[in-house]
């Protein structure tokens, strides 16, 4: 009996340690970046663009703008496709007798799953080969966000599917039994009920765009100017951290930018948590 409890205490000690270490890692990474980064953050830091070549002077204004553009444009491409695909896969696919369509659905599912596993550098390669070179979009927000959209479409499809699936099937049956057709049911009942879930998916995708570096490294060009059209190149905050770290000696600036990035991610996570906890509360 005593031995059983001793074993348990030993095991639990290890688990506590694991939990503590995990938190310490987080605290250390984030803390270090904040401690090193905060001193460099001022209003100027946000309102001026990078300048001065290798000196790493200036702030991050243009990179914030670029990041924002990237989020908007990428989501504009990916959201309708992703949500639409998810709707088809969850709401329609199970209800087709047509053999061809069923095959297509299997293929589509495979596509989504494969896409989700593709490493981002391959999206980069692909974006570089197709959008930058073959389609001649050059290093531009357009090229980068098309490649980025490929990255987040599976994320949106998955989270949206999850959200749609978590809508009780009773809602659908209830609506169908009242004489509504599929689309009416989806539009009026299922989508509103899944809205929060879908929006966390979109937010999550925005987070992916904010943090992504590898794809944009080979598609966005890295110009630190404020982009003024879809065809402009640019530099997201994450890319800026990379440039600062790898090209210049401005590690302090890199840290400040990283701190801003991490801060942004924290805010996004909090928002997602808020939304999901509201879903859970329902």
């Amino acid at each position: 009996m005593n031995k059983r409890m001793l074993t348990q205490n030993a095991a639990f000690g290890m688990f506590w340690l694991a939990g503590i270490v995990a938190v310490l890692i987080m605290a250390f990474v984030v803390g270090y970046i904040f401690v090193k980064g905060f001193p460099g953050i001022s209003l100027d830091f946000f309102t001026t663009s990078p300048r001065g070549g290798l000196s790493g002077d200036g702030g991050i204004y243009s990179t914030v703008v670029t990041t924002f553009y990237m989020i908007v444009v990428t989501l504009t491409f990916a959201t309708p496709l992703g949500v639409g695909a998810a709707i088809y896969l969850t709401e329609y696919s199970a209800n087709t007798e047509n053999k061809v369509v069923r095959k297509l659905v299997t293929v589509a599912r495979f596509g989504v799953e494969t896409l989700a596993g593709v490493p981002s550098i391959v999206f980069g390669l692909f974006g570089y080969a197709l959008f930058v070179s073959a389609l001649n979009f050059g290093f531009s927000i357009l090229s980068a966000s098309l490649a980025g959209a490929c990255l987040i479409i599976p994320v949106i499809i998955r989270t949206t599917e999850e959200a749609l699936k978590s809508v009780p099937s009773g809602y659908r049956e209830g609506s169908l039994a009242l004489g509504a057709n599929r689309w009416e049911t989806t539009w009026k009942v299922v989508l509103p009920a899944a809205f929060r879930g879908i929006s966390t998916g979109i937010l999550l995708s925005a987070g992916r765009i904010v943090s992504e570096t590898a794809i944009f490294f080979v598609t966005l060009g890295g110009s630190y100017r404020v982009p003024h059209s879809l065809m402009s190149g640019g530099r997201t905050m994450a890319l800026h951290v990379y440039y600062l770290a790898m090209e210049t000696r401005a590690f302090d600036k890199a840290m400040s930018t990283a701190a801003v990035l991490v801060g942004l991610i924290i805010v996004m996570n909090l928002t997602i948590n808020m939304i999901t906890s509201k879903i859970a509360a329902k």
């Binding site: 009773g170 049956e173 209830g174």
Partner: protein, 257 residues
């Protein structure tokens, strides 16, 4: 029985899930303005049969059928499914109000079917809620979410929602199995009142419930091929006191197996 008006009818109705014959040549006449209960062991096809009345089985791609189901003498398979489902309402096992206000829940069906006028809708919603015996409990806050109601209230809301499109028949698949005994009795009482205006078909696992609520009882059972057959159909009183088939007796007296 002979004197009853038939509202729905199945004639040599068989249903297949792919190769599997789930219902085997069912013949039955569901009398109008009565509560007809379907009882039988799990998997005997009660739900499947019930869902044939409003063609909910159409949603399952593998389903094929032979024979005919009639509503008021007309083959349901040849009717517009949207219109059919308006006429044949359905209430499910778990209360499934939409995550909308009470008002919007009830108004959902009428809006679909073209009632847009606000005051018409208000009248309709009130009438439906009164009829489902929920009005007094919710009239003070129709904008409250339907989900915030208790289980029993939710189920009555679902009944109101079904009523709001002015159906002729209401199908209920174990409508009280997720409710506690008190809420269950309320639903049962409600059925008793609704049958004045509607024809009600209910699936239940609970023999006692069938006894309490129904005027007619249909007993189903699977045969050696696991297909569901209608074993006996008759007035509930008769089924519960002098069933004519020994399998019915075994089942209702709990000796089945």
């Amino acid at each position: 029985m002979e004197t009853e008006v038939t509202r729905m009818q199945a004639e040599d109705y068989s249903l297949f899930y792919g190769q599997f014959k789930a219902l085997n040549k069912i013949n039955i006449k569901i009398p109008a303005n009565r509560v007809t209960a379907f009882i039988g062991p799990s998997g005997c096809g009660k739900s499947t049969f019930l869902r044939s009345f409003n063609r909910m089985n159409d949603l399952i791609p593998s389903v094929t059928t032979t024979g005919t189901v009639y509503l008021d003498g007309k083959d349901v398979g040849k009717q517009d499914v949207v219109e059919l489902r308006r006429k044949v309402g359905m209430v499910f096992q778990r209360p499934n109000p939409f995550p909308k206000s009470i008002f919007d829940n009830v108004a959902y069906g009428p809006r679909l079917h073209g009632t847009k006028n606000k005051s018409d809708l208000a009248v309709l919603v009130e009438k439906s809620l009164r009829r489902s015996a929920l009005w007094d409990e919710v009239k003070d806050d129709l904008q409250k979410s339907g989900m915030s109601l208790s289980g029993g209230q939710q189920q009555r809301l679902c009944i109101a929602r079904a009523i709001a499109v002015n159906p002729e028949v209401i199908l209920m698949d174990e409508p009280a199995s997720a409710l506690d005994p008190v809420a269950t009795l309320k639903i049962e009482e409600l059925m008793n009142e609704l049958k004045n205006k509607y024809t009600i078909a209910i699936v239940t696992h609970n023999m006692q419930q069938a006894g309490r609520v129904s005027d007619y009882t249909a007993f189903m059972l699977t045969d050696e091929n696991r297909s569901g057959n209608l074993i006996e159909f008759g007035a509930t009183k008769q089924i519960f006191t002098t069933p004519s088939d020994s399998r019915t007796e075994d089942y209702i007296s709990g000796r089945f197996g």
